[in-house]
Symmetry: C2
Subunit: 225 residues, 2 copies
């Protein structure tokens, strides 16, 4: 159920408060934009994320301004500052007959919450693996694993997926009835993030072929392993 | 020059405070994430934008909660609330030998500022045209133009591009020297937003062919008309 803060006001028919819808969007994307405020000034920073059940994980350098800011406790409430995490998947340009009815097809999720530092070493390592597998399933086990020093340099935060909403637009343009006679093309230009041919690193060891997970990389229709 | 608020702290070698770099990123993208705070709670909402010179324009329904919130004057200062506008272009997954050195190639811009309502009717119409041309050059003149009622239902806001920074990562993975012997593939999986084949609207007038601007839509290497 939406809260007063997550209820979609504009075009409420595009809103969804269904956990399954939200998870599907979160699992297809891997880039989020995190909003946090410092002295009343909001900042919006892009970063990757991973999901397990009702937890969203983000990570970064322990020295990151954003991660430190997100953990900062309020002097009075002793709670972490509220954040907003938004994930947007862009699916197409919607060309109507009228300028006014032009739109985009998209799926987006907005999550409000507070971040917690993951300090248990086992949970931290598991979260890093979730982040890695979320972006590129199969890569973790083929890479050199994190060592103590690297784990120390990395912070992992967990944000619960509790207060959220999704907004989705699909389908053709919707024109005013009298505009259907207007003589112009109308329809949808589908958009999708596509992977190109992988580029070998210049210092690749001999015989190392591009792995399957990098060769046919796609997010569309992506299913959690 | 960066301010204390826009100076990039992490990996400062990736930062740019150069207006031309920022404009190139803004002109290739068309989706931004806007951050604003209400009672201390940040919100991050995706929307399209257009640029002309040092002004960023956004638009939406006059009833939009975000647009109303962005114009709201502070009781004391009589100024609009501060916002943050972030544009992120994702260029690739960077696969290093170590989990720790995995990264992404990206170009992002963060703008801090305050929004002003564009209320002059001529500037408003011009701004709507800028927004439309920014996303799909050529479409404006082939569409039914906005009428009085539609203009009234639409709000346009201007945010000055004054306090900003860009952050850019390009190129191959950078591994620790001792990891170059680790036996795994390494390199970059390039990512790009690609347009698919346009989908005709079901009520298209006979003989209306897909226009060139919709047929070969691309953002990469996009140059302002």
């Amino acid at each position: 159920m939406p809260t007063a803060r997550t209820r979609v006001v504009r075009e409420p028919h595009r809103a969804s408060y269904d956990r399954e819808t939200v998870y599907r969007i979160l699992d297809e994307g891997f880039l989020c934009h995190i909003g946090f405020a410092v002295d009343g000034q909001p900042y919006v920073i892009p970063t990757s994320y991973g999901r397990k059940d009702a937890s969203l994980y983000i990570h970064g350098s322990a020295a990151s301004r954003m991660l430190r800011q997100m953990q900062k406790k309020d002097d009075q409430t002793k709670e972490a500052a509220p954040v907003c995490i938004t994930v947007t998947l862009l699916d197409g340009l919607v060309l109507a007959r009228s300028v006014f009815n032009h739109s985009m097809n998209y799926r987006s999720v907005v999550i409000l919450g507070k971040a917690t530092l993951v300090d248990d070493p086992q949970e931290k390592l598991a979260a890093l693996r979730i982040l890695s597998e979320h972006i590129l399933p199969g890569r973790w086990q083929e890479s050199r694993q994190p060592n103590e020093r690297e784990l120390k340099q990395t912070s992992v935060l967990r944000v619960p997926i509790e207060e959220f909403s999704a907004k989705v637009r699909t389908g053709p343009p919707i024109d005013d009835e009298e505009d259907y006679a207007f003589p112009t093309w109308a329809g949808v230009v589908p958009l999708e993030i596509k992977a190109g041919t992988p580029i070998d690193d210049a210092r690749l060891l001999p015989g190392k072929e591009v792995p399957e997970y990098a060769k046919h990389y796609t997010r569309r229709g992506w299913e959690r392993a």
